[in-house]
Every structure is written in C-alpha cells, then in structure tokens.
Symmetry: C2
C-alpha cells in the first residue's frame, strides 16, 4: 500500500497472528524468545521486541515477567475474523432514525438481556466516589453553582481534561477544551462546524449507528470506507475516494472501531492523516473507547499524531465512568471559537454540578485506578462472551478480536438475516444490535453486535448460548 508504509515489525506481527489463527500456535503456548525471533527472521533485537509489544497491545500475546511472551488464552480458538467490508459505490443518503430509535427502546428495556446498547452497566462501573462528589457539591455549594456556567464548560473540569491529554500524547490547555453533553453533542458540534447540509462525510463501514443518525438529522450524506477487522480503514480506498469525490470531512473512531473493534497502527494513522491533509479534508475522531485498551499502552488518537492541525477530537466519560452524567468534550484547535459559538447557540452551557463533581473526581487521582479496574473487567467479559459464542453459535460464524472496548461483532454466512434473529431473540427476552444499523447503506444484515458491558454470570451466559441456538436454527432454515 502506497499510502500506508508497512514496517518490518508489522509484517512479522501479521505472520505470528496468522500462525495463531491457523492453530500453529495454540492459546497459552509460549512463543519463541525475542532473541530466537530475531535470529530466525534476521531482524534486530529491537524489531523483534517491537513485534511482540505490538502483539501484546493488540491482546494477541501476553507478557509474563521473567518468562517471555505467551499466546493470550482469551484468543478465540476457532472462529475466523469477519470480512473486510467493501467501499460503497456512491454516497448514501442516510435513513436510519427509525431503526436506531426502535433499537434504543429495546436496549433500554431492563426486561431484556442487555447485549443491545454499547453502554456499561452502572453496577460494573462503580461510580460511588463520583456520585458522592456530586452529592457533596450539591449539598455544600448548590447555591454558588446555581448559575449559567461558561458555554465552554467549568474551569476545573477543563483543566483536568487538559492534564489528562498528556496521557494520549497530546498537549492541550484548558482553553482548548469545550465540555459537551456527551460525545454525541461533541460530534454534532464538530460536524456543524466543518460541514453544511448536503455535504458528504467519509465514515467507516461498519460504524457507530449514532454517528449515522446524527449525519441523517444534519442532512449529511455518508461515503462508506472498507475496514479490516484488525487494521482498520483501507487507506488506499480513502485516497481513491478523495481523488474522485468531494468529501467535507472524515469521521472515524480513534481506537477500537464500534462495532468491529479494529484499530489502526500508528503508522497507518499517520498515513491516513497525510492523505486527508493532501486533500485538505478535516478529520473528526471519536475516542470514547480509547481509555479501554487491553494492551500495555494507551493507543494514540489521531490528534496526537498531527498535533491537532487538521483533527477535531471528540470524547466522553460515558463508556468508562459515567454514562448518566452526560459529560463529553471536544478539542477543535483553531476551530475552538466556532465550536463554542455553536455550543452557546444550541444548548447554552452544560449542567454545572455534574461538571464540578467530575472535575473533583479527576483531580482526586481516582480515575486511573478506576480505569485499570474496568479495563480488566471488560477484557474478562469479552473473553467469557467469546467462549460462550464459540460453543453455541454455528461454526461458520466469524467473530471480531477487539483489543479494547466491550463489544463483539459477529458475521454469519449470507443470507443469514440478523433481523429475523432479532425478532426471535426479543420474544425470548434477549436484545442485541442487528448489523444493518451500523451502515448508511444498511449493509451487514448477516452481522450482529453484542455488548459485554455488564457483569458476567450464568444468566448472561445462558442468554448468549440461547442466541447461538437461535442463530443455528435460522441458518439451517
């Protein structure tokens, strides 16, 4: 690929991944030592180490101190990876609102097994410390904070968010941060800042249904880019698209595409940024899953790689700490003033006390320990769910291998109809997200997304297995 220089360590990492996929390396097996790898493949020790570290970051290998690297036991053993999607032939007018609303209604119904909505369970998030900060602020300073806050957001929260930006490898000042009502408002503000109705936006296929819904309501069209289940967006396809089509912006996940779990390498991210810069197309990135990495290092979002020159960064605390608080943020660089104007015009400012509580929670230093805990929980939950899927779904099922976040993407042989599965599953009290809501052109009807954002137990495991049996029946019919 011209646009995406492939490094030696990446080629080696791909080779080892395929050995694991075809069973040459079993889950739990020790891989050759760094020195042995270096000698076998004629690469430097540092390249060999980089190969293993990158596989560790992807969750493929696990490092054991004083011992070496092992194939992760949580690797799905038998199911193949989903296919890489095709690029769309033309921009799609999005029409998804009915499907999204219907899914949300089912997802929020606590009577159903909660595989539908990609939101962590409150029990699992253990937000007690944050809630107590809110209670304290309300009790002690309710009167002082009963005012319109600044449209940009409360200073203490912006300051803490800016401090944390160092962890993603990007320098932000509090003035660069605009607090929003979750990542949804951040994406809406970003889109209205750089586009006008009728414009076309390049998006991943599959992509987050909420993004598609926002595009629809803003009168924007979507051009769908092919996505590899491990490496993410096909940069050549993007370059070809920009060569031939007028694209107003590109809107992508920073890390762990929802629903596919793919993550671009840093080199690929840089190559993608170079392509966008060549055509002067701004990038809007959604990093809500970035803090939920299973690998050693927090993967860098795009903004850390281009210094924010052409990137608008959107994120929130909804996937990792506080979905009920509705606090997100946006870092828009030179476009910050225009974003604040829109925040002011569209919702004036955010609720003050939840921002104060979040600011104090972050300032206490409690967030990092919290993140370590939820990362471990999500990784375990995904491993449990993957195993339950492998023993209950048809063997032809393909399954994603996310290295962060808490969703799995399943692909069944066409013409499997996940809508038919959905109707039957709902009757049995099980909710999940059918694949077609993840595409502007309503592709992926043979796919589905399952969320593992809740504690794992026998009841939940039974739900997954029941869904697998239903999938068997539909596939056989």
């Amino acid at each position: 690929m011209d646009a995406s220089p492939s490094y030696r360590y990446e080629q080696l990492a791909d080779l080892i991944t395929s050995m694991i996929d075809n069973g040459a390396l079993a889950p739990g097996a020790r891989v050759p030592s760094v020195r042995a790898l270096s000698e076998q493949h004629g690469v430097s020790i540092s390249t060999a180490l980089q190969t293993y570290r990158s596989l560790e970051d992807r969750g493929v290998l696990v490092a054991r101190p004083q011992s070496g690297f092992y194939v992760a036991s949580t690797q799905p053993g038998t199911f193949a990876l989903p296919s890489t999607s095709r690029r769309s032939a033309k921009a799609s007018t999005v029409s998804i609102s009915g499907a999204v609303a219907a899914l949300l209604e089912h997802s929020s119904n606590r009577a159903f097994m909660p595989f539908g909505c990609a939101v962590p369970d409150g029990e699992l998030l253990e937000s007690k410390r944050l809630d107590l900060a809110l209670a304290r602020a309300a009790r002690r300073h309710g009167t002082r904070y009963n005012v319109y806050g600044p449209p940009q957001g409360e200073a203490i929260l912006r300051s803490e968010i800016a401090k944390r930006a160092m962890r993603i490898g990007h320098v932000l000042s509090p003035d660069d941060v605009v607090v929003t009502s979750g990542c949804t408002e951040a994406l809406m503000l970003a889109l209205t800042t750089v586009t006008k109705p009728g414009d076309t936006i390049a998006v991943e296929a599959p992509t987050y249904m909420g993004l598609l819904h926002t595009l629809e309501m803003l009168g924007l069209k979507a051009f769908e880019l092919p996505v590899d289940p491990i490496r993410g967006i096909d940069i050549d396809a993007l370059a070809q698209l920009l060569e031939t089509e007028q694209v107003a912006a590109c809107a992508l996940s920073s890390c762990f595409n929802n629903p596919l779990g793919s993550m671009m390498t840093e080199a690929d991210k840089r190559a993608l940024l170079a392509v966008l810069a060549r055509y002067d197309v701004p990038l809007i990135e959604d990093d809500v899953y970035g803090d939920l990495h299973f690998g050693r290092e927090r993967p860098k979002p795009f903004i850390a790689l281009d210094g924010g020159a052409n990137t608008i960064y959107c994120s929130s605390f909804s996937k990792s700490l506080a979905p009920g608080y509705r606090v997100g943020w946006i870092a828009a660089g030179a476009r910050t003033r225009r974003v604040i104007e829109r925040k002011l015009a569209f919702s004036l400012c955010g609720a003050v006390l939840p921002q104060i509580a979040l600011g104090e929670f972050l300032a206490s230093g409690a967030y990092d320990a919290h993140l370590r805990n939820v990362r471990r929980l999500f990784q375990e939950n995904l491993a449990h769910m993957a195993r339950a899927i492998e023993v209950s779904f048809p063997p032809e099922t393909k399954m994603s291998r996310p290295t962060g976040g808490f969703v799995l993407w399943l692909e069944l042989p066409k013409p499997f109809d996940s809508r038919a599965l959905f109707d039957q599953a709902i009757e049995q009290g099980i909710c999940f997200a059918p694949g077609d809501v993840f595409s502007a052109s309503r592709r992926f009807r043979n796919c589905l997304r399952l969320s593992a954002g809740h504690g794992w137990n026998d009841h939940i495991a039974d739900g997954v297995r029941h869904l697998g049996r239903l999938a068997h029946k539909i596939l056989a019919s």
Copy 2:
C-alpha cells in the same frame, strides 16, 4: 385592527392606563369602584370587573380585599413607555455571535455589577431543597441512575411537567413532553424540526439575543415584527408580512417579551394564532418567563389557546429555579417524534440525576410556594430598580413596564449610543446589555436592558445611579 378584535374592557383598560400615565390617577390612588366604573361608562358590572382584573394582571392596579382597586405604587411615575418598533423592510441575515459571546463573557464575570445577563442570582433563588434532592439521589441511587436515560427524558420529570401544564390551561400527557438542555436546546430542536437553512423566521423586535444567535448558527434569516411595549406584536404587520413573504415559522415569547416586557392579551394571542393558521406557519413559543407573572393569574401561553395544533411550546426552569441544572422542555404535539429524533441525534439524552432531583422537587409540591416567593422578589426588585432609574437617568429616558419577569428596557433619545455607555460602564465595573444585541438588524443602539434578577441592596442601587449619571454625560456630549 381587523386581525385583533379589541374588546370593550380592553378599551377601558387602555383609557385608565393613559390616565395613570398622564398623572390623572396617582400611584396609590383608589380608582372608582366597579359599580361606579360600570355606571360612568355604560358597561356591565362584569365588563367593569374584567377591566380592573386585566389591569391588575398587568401590574397597573393592585386589589385590596374589602377595599377596592388602587393604582400600583410601583408604577414608574414619570418616565414614558418605549416606542413601538417598526417592521423591518426585509429579512436580515443574522450576524450577532461575536456580540453575544462578548456580552456573555462580561455578564458572567462576577467582578461586574450583574445587570447584564437575564439570569436570577442563586442566592435569590434559594434552591437548597432542590440541591438536597440531587444530593440524596446521587448518594442513594447513583449506581441505578448511571445509565443513558431515555432521549425523551426521565419519566418522573415528564410526568410532573405534564401535571403542571394544567396550570397554563393546557392538557399534556407525559408522552407529549421532551426534556431538553434548557430552553436553548428546546428552541434549537423546534427550529430544526420545522425549518431548513436559508429559511426566514418572523421574530419580535426587540427579541431575546439567544434566539437570534441560534438563528444565525442554523443559517436562518430573521424578519422583525413591530412590538408595542404593552400589547406586544402588531398582528396586522404580521398578516401583511405573511401575505407577501415566505416565512417558515414564527418564534415569539409567550409572556413578558425579553427585553421589552410586553404581553399580548389573550384576544390578541388568539388573533395572532388565526393569522398564522391561515398561512400555515407554525408558531414556536418561548415561555421561560410565564411563571414569573405579577398579576393574579398565570397568563396563558399560545399552546393553551390553539390546543397545540400549530404551536411548539418551549420552556425551562432556568429563570425561576435552577439555571445551573440546565433542564428545559418542549411540547411539540404531532411533531414530538421528530423532536425526539433530533434530541437523540444531537445530544442523545440529558443527565439523569438532575432530572430525577427536579422531578422529586416538583412532586413534593414545593414549587408553587417557591414561585410565589420569587415572583414577589422580582416585582420588588423591578420597582426598586425603576425608582433608581427615574431619579438618576436623563428625564427623556423611556422605560418599559413589565408585568412579569425581571428585566427593564430603557430607550434614550437618538443618537444616544448604548455601546459607548457600555464601554464606560464596564470600566466602572458595571455590566448591562446594550440594545443592539436584541435585533437581527442591530437596531436599538439607543436602548439598553437591565436585569434585576438579584437581591436589591445599596451597592446595586449605587450601580444603577452611577449608570444613570454616565448616561446623562453621554447624552449631553
């Protein structure tokens, strides 16, 4: 006026108002008894009573039990009313964002005298009971509520809002209510539901600057309607406009226009609705000041007069209870589903705990006593401020006579420049809102708005008098 039938009681009320204005009836004086009025003017007892009741609702008269009606002592004694604005010759492209942002920055700076922003002071609002409800919900049920709420809003809050709708004379079910991030988001959702960029919206002149800013950011144009300082919109001018121009919607205050304080009579509101219905133009009404009436009865918003057939109702708790909570709502009748779609696409849902706290506060029945208290405070504050203005501003100053809310609108002889006054006042630590931010075509440069949404004391009184002296100097120069 064809479109606005003038009733006998309204003619009589106008006559009595003009007698007060020209000094024939002094503040505190007893007006003729209902029987005497009936005999003098050859009207029925019920018409005479209706005359006095309508004057009481406007704050012109005060009823004393067992005694009769008196000219309100808080009536400004000497200053004339502001002029009725002219209709604009054509639709204006709005360009106000810079001015609004600059004003907001000054208004939120606590170092300045707080006459700039139309938001009540937290001390005055005494939201303790609400804050404790929030603290309790966070402490006891934080985990349960740490979820995405329904896009439409929490059920307990929608139910309480629907119950309160009876007080405005309109029947709503909880399903008719969509909770928003303050009235700003409600207006934005209403506008995006019934318009597209490039459309023209009919607005009052002067009108709320935030509405103009939202129009600008949505790419909407504004057509400005003449507004009488007492009776509100000139319905004939609206009818003429709709006859000749394509107007996508009309966006008005329900009661107590901000900044002018005008309020249309129920008969005029019905006539306006009839004109809009004739041309099939939807009405978007902003009722944030409606609960802050000084008269006996809560004035009816438009939605109560057309049953919501053609009206989208927007309001919030920001002016009366909780500016810091950012909770508003919208009732959009047949357009409710489309409004929810937009809420979902633009901000997903609101923060859960503040909604729960507000729902519990309303359910406790505490809001009515709270409203009685803040109404009295605002009325007293406005009376204090009006007196301070009358003794310190140039005698040519004209001043509004709001019968609700907490702002005063001052008009000085042209070419008085309220921007020059603003610059000098800011240097002296006094903030207010210059007139031109209340107009899409940046008229009213000789006007200013003062907010009295804070406790009255000597320091505040000094600020008003200081401003008056500055106005004297600028007028003389």
